[in-house]
């Protein structure tokens, strides 16, 4: 009796002390831990936006002979979660630049760029022939901006989350929206019947 008991204790101790493991996973793998906004949502949104934009006929035509300059305004977070929307626009921006069809100016580093320009022109430390000159930056022609909104419904054992991401490309001079696209995502979670 005692032997059986001690064997069971030993078994339990082994199971409980099992060490935790660290592993690398596929960054593109579908992530379905919770219904919250996650990496798969971000990737789906970015892929859809870039694909839509690059095949839109007027944009194909516009980017045939030149690489227009864009700037990313921001994507408004209108959901009930704290989502880093800059991370979504960063991914979109990277994909667009890598397509070779667009160029970007970055408004988030303007202050630091100005500091560097001041240093190059005023500190006396920089060879004037190599110093970058003030007033020679290229103005953006288009602005990218958008919205991320969500509708969340919960009912007993089911939670339904609907995300809608809208992105717009606006011609700064004419004020015309040249392109827009939407990505909808619906996620549903059902409570399991048994658990710890």
């Amino acid at each position: 009796m005692i032997r059986v008991l001690s064997m069971m204790m030993l078994g339990a101790a082994l199971v409980l002390s099992g060490c935790s493991t660290v592993d690398y996973g596929d960054a593109q793998a579908r992530e379905t831990v919770t219904t919250d906004f996650g990496s798969t949502d971000l990737q789906m949104i970015a892929a859809k936006m870039v694909d839509d934009m690059l095949v839109f006929p007027p944009i194909v035509q516009m980017t045939q002979n030149r690489r227009p300059v864009l700037f990313v305004d921001r994507v408004k977070n209108k959901t009930t979660e704290h989502i880093d929307t800059e991370s979504i626009t960063d991914t979109i921006q990277s994909k667009l630049i890598n397509s070779g069809k667009f160029r970007f100016v970055d408004m988030s580093v303007v202050d630091r760029v100005r500091q560097q320009l001041d240093y190059q022109s005023e500190s006396g430390m920089v060879d004037p022939s190599t110093a970058a000159q003030m007033g020679r930056q290229i103005g953006a022609e288009f602005m990218l901006y958008g919205n991320l909104s969500s509708i969340v419904k919960r009912d007993g054992s089911t939670k339904d989350v609907y995300y809608k991401f809208t992105l717009k490309l606006l011609n700064i001079q004419s004020g015309i929206i040249e392109w827009t696209s939407e990505k909808e995502i619906r996620k549903t979670r059902k409570k399991s019947l048994f658990g710890l």
């Binding site: 919770t34 408004k76 977070n77 209108k78 959901t79 009930t80 979660e81 704290h82 969340v152 919960r154 009912d155 007993g156 054992s157 939670k159 979670r189 409570k191 399991s192 019947l193 048994f194 658990g195 710890l196």
Partner: protein, 453 residues
């Protein structure tokens, strides 16, 4: 072997009692809470440490809520934000937990032989709504507009969800009572105090104060549609509040392009602490006779009277007076009332279990065993007095308009007064957060909100 089998229930009880998983088993929660209520308003490392430690227990969410609130009032914004975020994580886990959980079965079983405090604390809806509102104030104080907007939206969503699930839950609890043959009407007389404390509150989650707070925020950012919806929701709960009627008219006009020029100043005023639950001895009839059990309730005597805060300008001219938008004591009482059917069922089962234990002890363990079982049954009979106790007794608000510039305002309450220098911006919103606890005022002016979101 016989000894082991006989001793097993005792061993089990010992194991349960020695586990510090649930602190409220034998120390009533309101007694614990005085540790952090008394020093509120200035940093209190000892109480904070106590709360942080308790936050790891089974009742973690309750202590996280307390910690969030205490640190917010003590001026530790980041700590408060982390604590509320942990509480919100916990809500999500509760919402998404499996319907039948091994751990809650264990807790239910131990609550059968100990008391309801053995069940892990789950935050009622009215507390969840306050958590979201306070978290919004944390983001607001840090001037994180997007974060504030997210939390205010989430507060509204909590209220909608609560409305959706409430009817179904009450129906289910009454069905359970039927199934277990517990006649709920026989206890009606014992809970008159509870009814009085709940007053005219229609549902435990209806919180006009958080609706009003979010409406102010939306209006300041030109989101007139959202503002109108939330002002109307607040008005629905307090149909006689004249200043909310004006708000509805003003925002309707703004939707049509007619903007109010001056800057708005709003005072959100939180008065006192919500009254704690009290213990009531309730005779429960079982098959073996009447068994007296401890039951939580609220009473009207315990409830402070609402007093308003008046705002005066530097010439002592009145600018506004706050009005109660959420009677938190009543929300808590209403919540307890909504939970009553389920609690009565558990109490009946527990009374039977304890009677059986007593009977078995009498038969098997002789006089000494019977004596200890009786003592145990008496000592372990503790009502579930847990609830978030640093919430205010009354959440109030008022608002008025002032021209752009710096203004010196006098806030006057029966518990003390304060003079503040307040910035006002045309079309902007300046919120003054005032908390009256322990005979003094804690005041802060939140960053001015203006411009589109």
């Amino acid at each position: 072997m016989l000894l082991i089998r006989k001793g097993f229930p005792l061993l089990l009880v010992l194991a349960l009692l020695s586990g510090c998983a649930t602190r409220s088993l034998f120390v009533p929660y309101p007694n614990q809470a005085t540790a952090w209520q008394s020093g509120i308003g200035s940093p209190q490392p000892a109480a904070t440490e106590k709360l942080q430690k308790a936050a790891q227990s089974n009742d973690g969410v309750l202590y996280q809520q307390e910690l969030g609130r205490v640190s917010q009032l003590d001026g530790e914004r980041q700590q408060s934000q982390d604590a509320f975020a942990a509480a919100i994580d916990h809500y999500q886990q509760t919402d998404e937990a499996a319907r039948i959980r091994a751990s809650s079965l264990v807790a239910d079983t131990s609550s059968l032989i100990v008391n309801d405090n053995a069940r892990p604390y789950t935050a009622p809806d009215y507390e969840r709504i306050f958590t979201r509102a306070y978290q919004a104030l944390n983001y607001w104080a840090a001037n994180d507009v997007t974060g504030t907007a997210v939390e205010l939206r989430a507060a509204g969503e909590e209220q909608r969800n609560a409305a959706r699930k409430r009817d179904r839950e009450i129906a289910k609890a009454e069905k359970d009572a039927d199934d277990n043959q517990v006649d709920l009407s026989q206890y009606q007389g014992y809970f008159e105090g509870l009814d009085a404390a709940a007053g005219s509150v229609k549902a435990s989650f209806q919180n006009a104060w958080t609706f009003y707070l979010s409406a102010l925020f939306w209006e300041a950012h030109g989101e007139y549609n959202d503002a109108l919806v939330d002002y109307k929701k607040a008005l629905e709960i307090h149909p006689d509040a004249d200043f909310i009627k004006e708000d509805v008219q003003r925002v309707s006009a703004a939707l049509n392009g007619r903007l109010h020029k001056d800057g708005m100043v709003a005072v959100i005023y939180e008065q006192g602490f919500v009254p704690p639950r009290q213990e009531l001895s309730l005779p429960i009839p079982t098959v073996h006779g009447v068994f007296s059990v401890a039951f939580p309730t609220y009473s009207l005597q315990n409830k402070p009277r609402p007093d308003s805060l008046r705002v005066l300008d530097s010439n002592r001219q009145p600018l506004g007076e706050t009005r109660v938008l959420a009677d938190v004591g009543a929300l808590a009482a209403k919540n307890l009332k909504e939970q009553l059917p389920g609690m009565l069922v558990r109490q009946t089962l527990r009374a039977t279990a304890k009677y059986n234990a007593q009977k078995k002890a009498n038969d098997d363990f002789g006089a000494l065993g019977a004596f200890f079982t009786q003592v145990y049954n008496l000592v372990s009979e503790q009502a579930d007095l847990r609830s978030w106790l640093t919430l205010p007794a009354y959440a109030q608000a008022t608002r008025f308009f002032l021209p752009q510039g710096q203004h010196s305002l006098v806030l006057s309450t029966p518990g003390g007064s304060a003079t503040l220098n307040v910035p006002v911006v045309d079309h902007g919103l300046t919120v003054i957060h005032v908390v009256a606890v322990q005979g003094h005022l804690i005041t802060r002016v939140l960053p001015v909100q203006e411009g589109p979101l």
